[in-house]
Amino acid sequence: MNFATFTFWWFLIVVGVPIIAIKFVMLKINLWRDQYDRFALLIFSLLLLCLTTSYGFAVFLFDVSINFLLIRIMQRYEKNKKPIAIGIVTFNILFLIYFKYILFFNDVIWSVINNHTVVFANSNALPVGISFYTFQIIAIMADIYKSKQLDKVNLIDYFNSLVFFPKLAAGPIEKWPEISSQLKNFRLKFSQENIDNGMRWLALGCFMKFVLADNLSAYINTNEVKNVWVVLSSTYLFGFKLYFDFAGYSFIAVGLGKILNINLTINFLSPYLVSNIQEFWRRWHVTLMNWFRDYIYIPLGGSKTKYVLLNILLIFLISGAWHGVGWNYLIWGLYHGLMMLLYLYLRKKITLLKPAGWFITFNVVMFGWLFFMTPNISNIFSKLFIIFNPCSYSLPLISVAIEKYSLAELLVLVVIITMIIAVMLMEYLSAINRRKIFYGKLINGNIPYVLMFLSFLLPARSFTRFVYFNF
């Protein structure tokens, strides 16, 4: 769900208020009091999805319904659950490939056969949240498969766990036992405590997305291949934009969840403060990496198999492919896989001080975004060439890069960078806390009020689409 559109918040009020009003009527007349809340949540989420995209709604309904039937069949035929589970996984992977990669394969095959590029359809046709809910379905199926619990999956809880509006479009991808137990007992209760807790995360998310990420967009030029300063500054700023954009989305989702008394997993744990690449991947898009660990890495043998290094590389390649359609995402995945292998090899030989480890990791991760942000392969090579060519670093090019901006725009950039440094510092102070409550300094005390105030006062002139909605 696109929290960056007015329509979302409008819908939240216009449809949410009558739903709550009906609840009180139901309570008064003592009708359907145990089922209404879960059902209302489902209807609300489905309506919101339908309003956002009728095409995405149709695809979602088809995919999720088929999977529900397949999971119920798997539960019924306990003895044959393995082949059914394999069938469910295959169906979902093919479904995802069809919608996400068919154009890419098409493009590759036709460009080989005809020596030219053919695009049959608009790449914007990607159904909303498909990458996330497909992985969520597989997680639900796998969690049910592994559990001894024979309770039938409840239709409303199952649908709610997938279409729950704060998480549908870009996660988090939750574990079935955790999310289902919360949804099973879901009640529309708006306590002061829940609203305050939720608003604190909402304030942090809004500030990260609308003030930091959106305002950074104007200073990122992904197409520049000649001016090394623009290439480098765009890459680093893109790294921050991506973090604040996606973490912003995730925290808004967490905040909305908390207001509704549902705890969603926090997807980011100050990832830019880590001192090694392994830790980075434990703290960046946490639920996706947990998914890879639980449903691919461990089933492949985990750290006990002799193919462990190959499996790590495979995980990162799949992660790259999941993130987007294009060679650049595969290169990005491969790059991180190789960095991970390099780290695992070197950590036994070299011990670095934490600040040195942070400096190296931060720059390795930031450099990696160059692949992520550049869809054109020849542009990637051009960028790499100028970055590694010492002659590119000419000082007059700095003034060429700066000349593009007015004094006001440069002032804005300085303000954004100052705010980023302040946020990172607060993250650091939270992370070194003995209780290690990530973002603690940003969500406790009076800081969230300031963040909410600034989110209203200093957003970008136009909202940009959440980056992860493209995946």
Partner: protein, 299 residues
């Protein structure tokens, strides 16, 4: 208590935004507000009937020579062109109430404005600054959205306000105009070609239809004219889009345009500082052309 605290924070933020927007500290907003105030004053000064009101974005402000048109037409001509960022709804909304029996209105909308939902990035703040929040005759949802947005500032506005207040840096936004609403200060810099890839959105179409009805009801006449745009040599795609827009606009009111060029030019010397702003000489040429087209249409 906690909910009240959050509500107060949001109300305080929106209030600060409203006050700052009302004061129009941001240079774009200040420019749009002062142009509006000056041009509306000029428009109201022409009390005689049969006025020609030329409306549009900055392409109109920097695109016509109203004084020259007045000489040729023998009717009072007023250039009400303003900042395109205020959006199509506000451009129409600011002049709709001023139209009188016997007037001729020529709307020269930039193509981008026709593609949008009628609001621009500046429209909400502009509405607040001129004391008409939610201006433009839009639906209830959009009105609430515009009023809400009117209470938000932006980091860019903040930067521009600081530069304008402390360093007196105004950029291209000089508000000096003559007695016809025409621009008197020009900025020349190298302009790169643009392209047209817009279509008339359903909301823009609906707003234009309602504007046409309102103009008709007052006994005035509405015409559309095409903006002049700097495009690349052999830009056939832009031509295609413009043809499509002409056919859509023609369903609502007559369109005044040069059938040969469609207002698309590849000569950068015609343009001053953007692909939509003309030089002083081109404004005269364009105005002559517009007068000929108008004469043909009304005779």
């Amino acid at each position: 208590m906690k909910i009240i605290k959050w509500t107060l924070v949001i109300i305080a933020a929106l209030s600060v935004g409203y006050i700052l927007n009302y004061l129009a500290l941001d240079s774009d907003l200040w420019w749009a507000k002062s142009l509006y105030e000056k041009k509306i004053k000029i428009l109201r000064q022409f009390t005689n009937t049969g006025r020609v009101i030329v409306a549009g974005g900055s392409g109109t402000h920097y695109g016509i020579d109203a004084a020259r048109m007045e000489q040729l037409l023998g009717r009072p001509v007023i250039n009400t062109g303003n900042h395109g960022g205020i959006g199509l709804n506000a451009i129409i909304g600011t002049i709709e109430g001023e139209v009188k029996n016997g007037d001729i209105v020529i709307l020269i909308s930039e193509y981008g404005l026709l593609a949008d939902d009628g609001t621009g990035w500046l429209s909400a703040a502009f509405g607040v600054s001129i004391g008409m929040p939610g201006i433009g005759g839009i639906g209830i949802k959009q009105t609430i959205q515009e009023i809400f947005k009117g209470g938000t500032l932006s980091l860019t506005s903040f930067g521009k306000s600081v530069m304008r207040l402390f360093f007196n840096a105004k950029g291209r936004t000089s508000n000096l105009i003559d007695e016809h609403g025409d621009v008197v200060i020009y900025i020349n810099r190298k302009v790169s070609p643009s392209s047209v890839s817009s279509v008339v959105s359903s909301s823009a179409g609906a707003r234009l239809i309602s504007f046409k009805k309102s103009v008709d009801n007052k006994g005035a006449k509405l015409f559309f004219a095409l903006p002049w745009v700097l495009v690349s040599v052999n830009d056939k795609e832009s031509r295609m889009y413009v043809m499509n827009i002409i056919s859509e606009l023609n369903k609502i009111a007559p369109v005044l345009y040069n059938k040969e060029t469609l207002g698309l030019y590849d000569n950068a010397a015609f343009f001053s500082d953007t692909p939509l702003h003309n030089t002083k000489e081109t404004r005269a040429t364009r105005s002559l052309e517009l007068v000929e087209q108008l004469n043909q249409a009304i005779n």
